[in-house]
Symmetry: C2
Subunit: 213 residues, 2 copies
């Protein structure tokens, strides 16, 4: 049965899952990259960059689980890009170049309609203006028997978790404090929502925790 | 030179360092004990319980560092006990029995004056009504060349950290979500306060992080 998952989601010790002031220069916000020190050296990430090196091991196993086998993805608009408000034109096609790492239908939450964009490698971006429920319904139809990943950003993950739609959350807790940024847990009672820790795998670069209901 | 430290301080993934509703039955708050699953099996904790068993290893090394070698301790009143308001009598002498685990002068922050209590094993409880600065000054005089530990609870740690008095913070991040409790990080910009991660030691039961300035 299709599961809805958050996976490979970085969070700092002090609970921030993105830095402040996202921009073209800082897609993850200022200091956001510190959350992904476990991910950047992995073979999975290096392959996304077109390289054939990279580390295997526990971090890479979680990276694989976070990127492969999904039948559909859902992203918030800020995860898709730095453009705000009306789309000025069709130029912006995501952070990832012509061949994004999704390789599946990918639904972008936005208030501003836009025609779908078919990218290389199996990724098609669909723009959803009807909110999280509509996006989830379309993702379910697209995913078939495969799982759906809520790819981010922070606010999108929070909305799906608090609405009770997320079966599993893999957090990669980075051994750093960010001080400022987008808080992941604020006002979100994961215990009351039914989550318990089902996996706990520490590595040198992160503590991987899988929560499930 | 004397350093002021927070040590062996538990925090959940979602940023809580104590459960809710502290009481005589729940000194750590409801679910608070989940934060200390790394500590309870250690030789250090077992010896505090008068047992001669317990695990050695990385968790125990951090437990030793968290309890030994301090010249003075500072505790918030709620860390000392469940009594609120005026002291009704001299009966309450802490959670720890006749021989508390401090073995050094221990300064209790309170709004209500009370005579010092000399316990067994070198612990004397001093009640400080002049606030965190006065407590720190007296702890410094008492500690000599040794370090001072801010023992908790959460609000006391937060006050000393935000006032810029804490040189080193050892957090034991528990692989659990509490959902509710006393938030450690809320509104506290550890980065702006100058903290960086200087140690990162994951174990099966916790991720130990030492922050220093």
């Amino acid at each position: 049965m299709t599961k809805v998952k958050v996976a490979g989601f970085g969070v700092s010790l002090d609970g921030f899952s993105a830095g402040t002031a996202q921009s073209l220069e800082h897609p993850l916000g200022v200091r956001g990259p510190e959350l992904f020190q476990w991910f950047f050296p992995t073979q999975t990430f290096r392959q996304m960059q077109g390289k054939d090196d990279g580390e295997t091991g526990l971090d890479d196993q979680f990276a694989v689980r976070a990127m492969e086998g999904f039948g559909a993805f859902i992203l918030g608009r800020n995860m898709f890009g730095p453009v705000r408000g009306e789309w000025p034109d069709d130029q912006w096609k995501g952070w990832w170049g012509d061949d994004p790492p999704y390789h599946a239908p990918t639904f972008i939450l936005t208030h501003y309609p836009r025609a779908p964009i078919e990218m290389l490698g199996g990724t098609t971006f669909h723009f959803i203006t009807g909110g999280i429920e509509e996006a989830l319904q379309k993702a379910c139809e697209a995913a078939g028997a495969k799982d759906i990943k809520i790819g981010g950003g922070v606010e999108t993950v929070r909305q799906y978790v608090m609405a009770g739609h997320v079966d599993e959350i893999h957090l990669a807790v980075a051994p750093v404090v960010l001080g400022q940024g987008e808080p992941l847990f604020s006002g979100m009672d994961l215990r009351a929502l039914g989550y318990r820790t089902v996996e706990h795998v520490p590595t040198e670069r992160a503590t991987h925790i899988v929560l499930a209901r």
